[in-house]
């Protein structure tokens, strides 16, 4: 009857396998086929290279705001590689590398960031949701999908992505709680990149780790070195095995870092130090993984060029898309367009036909900056 600590105590584990100096903890090394290791590296490098290209395209006004992934390649690729095609992937907005691995053509991503609805359409056989912009709001969808999987008795799991900032939203909490109660096959992958735009983790939550938030929902949470693709892979594989076995959800916190801007509209020099960035650059997930592959003799020659060519082809094919047809904006609002929408569509069609006075002007090619008026911007004053 006295004041007594509840037993067993609550624990959270931290997992690290390949450290920033590429030292391997061989006891924990996951078994991954050499081919898969090579594919993983390729996918990470593709993420990195595409990032750089995207930022340039945005600066040139050829796409709009883009959220780079630089630094987070291991978190994304280590986790997404443990999924089967028939599993479900529910992204936020910063998973370009993972999405490409899941089968999104690069030109579709380009179209998406160029403000084209076409960019949000998954292929009919793809088990992927499109990008979600409202932070954390996709998490209940992942849980609902997992419920449906279980309801139908299908053999699939759901993996969903979000950031450290997302853990503050009510949607995160409600989704985690439903997942716990329903005991559904969903894996919550938190890419804790230390920042939510300008807000550092310590202003985001007073919790020691993000992984421990799982304790509130009664299912396992684990913290991994998110720049260590082997650790992410190992933790994800374990979580997926648990989910597939009917043993419920897992929260994986990948401790990583956003090396680049929040989005192309952001200026991180306003809120974080160069030293911090440089410190994390030393923990680059690509460097240590390439060292690991080097030792295994799995590094391909000319890979970078090959990838750049692939990206270039995608950019070309994206740029050869004709102008967006305004009339298609009325498609897919409803299953069947209601009469008032048909009338509105007719109005636009008539306007387009008449040309002249009613004609919608061409889009400006230089984007109005959304935020972070860089000092060089013509908007600065």
């Amino acid at each position: 009857m006295p004041r007594k600590p509840l037993e067993p105590p609550f624990t959270i584990e931290h997992l690290s396998i390949l450290d920033s100096d590429a030292n391997l903890d061989a006891a924990l090394e996951p078994e991954i086929a050499p081919d898969v290791l090579k594919q993983m590296y390729r996918a990470m490098l593709l993420g990195r290279r595409l990032d750089e290209r995207m930022v340039r395209l945005q600066r040139q006004g050829r796409v709009g705001t883009f959220a780079p992934i630089k630094g987070q390649e291991a978190s994304q690729i280590g986790s997404v590689f443990t999924l089967r095609r028939t599993d479900w992937m529910v992204p936020s907005f910063r998973e370009a590398a993972a999405m490409i691995w899941r089968g999104w053509p690069i030109e579709k991503l380009l179209a998406f960031f160029a403000g084209r609805l076409e960019g949000g359409q998954p292929a009919s056989d793809q088990h992927d949701l499109p990008i979600t912009i409202p932070v954390a709001s996709q998490l209940p969808h992942a849980v609902g999908l997992a419920y449906a999987v279980q309801y139908r008795g299908d053999d699939a799991v759901v993996m969903t992505y979000f950031g450290d900032g997302a853990t503050s939203e009510g949607d995160f909490h409600e989704a985690m709680n439903f997942a716990g109660v329903w005991h559904v096959p969903v894996i919550f992958v938190c890419q804790n990149n230390q920042w939510a735009i300008s807000v550092p983790l310590k202003k985001q939550t007073h919790s020691r780790t993000l992984a421990q938030k799982a304790l509130a929902y009664g299912f396992p949470g684990v913290q991994v070195d998110g720049n260590d693709v082997l650790a992410v892979y190992a933790a994800s594989r374990e979580a997926i095995a648990r989910a597939r076995a009917g043993d419920g959800p897992t929260l994986i916190e990948c401790v990583t870092y956003r090396l680049g801007v929040h989005t192309t509209a952001d200026d991180p020099t306003r809120y974080r130090s160069e030293e911090e960035v440089r410190e994390w650059e030393r923990k680059d997930p690509l460097t240590r993984f390439s060292a690991y592959l080097e030792k295994k003799n799995l590094l391909e020659q000319g890979l970078e060029q090959q990838i750049d060519d692939e990206i270039a082809r995608a950019v070309q094919s994206f740029e050869s898309l004709g102008p967006a047809d305004p009339l298609t904006m009325f498609d897919h609002a409803y299953g069947e367009p209601p009469p008032h929408l048909l009338a509105q569509r007719a109005e636009v069609a008539e306007r387009l036909r008449r040309g002249a006075e009613g004609k919608p002007a061409e889009e400006p090619t230089v984007p109005t900056p959304m935020r972070g008026q860089r000092k060089t911007s013509r908007w600065a004053n």
Partner: protein, 326 residues
């Protein structure tokens, strides 16, 4: 089935659709063992089990949000929000997602789901239990907004809502749950969404109403007939959005005068769109300004003052007479 009240009629719609289609499931607070606080889901839990009739944790955003996920997978969830006053907790899931997935994914996904909620006054309830929030849903494209006015059309519209490929917000007037019984046929009946019903024909004045206000409009029409010899056409909207503009315009092109009755607040309320759309469709026929009889623009009045706030027959008759005398 014989004569059913609206609770039983809605329950029947759920039961029969769940029997027909394994993908239909029910989720909400207390919808399972308890059968819903208004008993609309009574017995479904016993019949279909807790996987199909889900007593969810207390979280509206996740009720709607997980239902979105289920719908993306191909299930057809019917959510119950315990009272419409608590739906704002999950409003972002409706506006950000349920309404948008079809367009966002260019048709690859869509959300065939229903969000049912009791709305409106007349049951001596506390704050957030008496309000009428249909306007908020009517302004969200991609979503349909339906409000039945009696047991039979409630059942038929709920069937249609469940089968509709788009998300439907389905308001049930608490004041009607036990107000009347109607003959409800055994065989499943469906009413088209998006179509208003001319409940009474007349050439002098158009009364537009829906939900619990239909009976107010009906009674007003009868008084106007009996006391003033005025023939009112009573339009029961049934679907708020997409609005059946044609039926509205046709009626007012005939009558030249219209009074709109709703429990929602007046300012920036549904009556505004109804009035504006009548004006657009029947401008040259209009003989008097269209009047709106609605709740006043105050947050909450408490049930001790509710009668003075919610439109009643007297107010509708008075507004009609002023319109007729214009």
């Amino acid at each position: 089935m014989g004569k059913l009240n609206m609770v039983k009629a809605l329950n029947l719609a759920l039961l029969q659709e769940m029997e027909r289609d394994e993908d239909v499931l029910v989720i909400g607070e207390d919808v399972g063992v308890d059968g819903g606080v208004f008993r609309v889901t009574e017995d479904l839990h016993r019949k279909f089990g807790s996987k199909r009739v889900i007593d969810s944790p207390l979280a509206e955003a996740a009720i709607v949000g997980t239902a979105v996920g289920m719908a993306l997978y191909g299930l057809k969830p019917v959510c119950e929000i315990q009272f419409s006053g608590f739906a704002f907790q999950g409003f972002h899931q409706l506006e950000n997602h349920a309404a948008r997935y079809r367009q966002r994914s260019q048709g690859r996904f869509h959300c065939q789901m229903v969000v049912r909620m009791p709305y409106g006054g007349g049951v001596r309830a506390l704050e957030h239990h008496s309000e009428s929030e249909e306007q908020f849903y009517a302004h969200i494209p991609g979503i349909k907004m339906v409000i039945p006015s009696g047991p039979r059309n409630a059942r038929a519209l709920l069937v249609s809502a469940i089968r509709d490929p788009d998300p439907v917000v389905f308001f049930e007037a608490k004041a009607l749950y036990h107000a009347a019984r109607e003959d409800v046929p055994d065989e499943i009946e469906a009413l088209p969404i998006g179509r208003a019903h001319v409940d009474r024909q007349g050439g002098d004045l158009t009364l537009v109403a829906y939900g619990a206000m239909l009976r107010v409009a009906r009674e007003a029409a009868q008084i106007l007939h009996d006391e003033d010899g005025v023939e009112s056409e009573v339009i029961d909207l049934l679907t708020i959005s997409p609005l059946d503009r044609e039926t509205l315009a046709a009626s007012v092109n005939k009558t030249g005068r219209a009074v709109i009755v709703h429990e929602a607040l007046r300012s920036f309320g549904p009556g505004a769109e109804i009035a504006a759309s009548i004006m657009e469709g029947a401008f040259l026929s209009l003989e008097a300004p269209i009047r709106r009889v609605a709740a006043y623009d105050v947050p909450f009045v408490g049930f001790a003052r509710e009668k003075a706030n919610v439109p009643d027959v007297g107010r509708v008759v008075a507004a009609a007479r002023e319109t007729l005398a214009f």
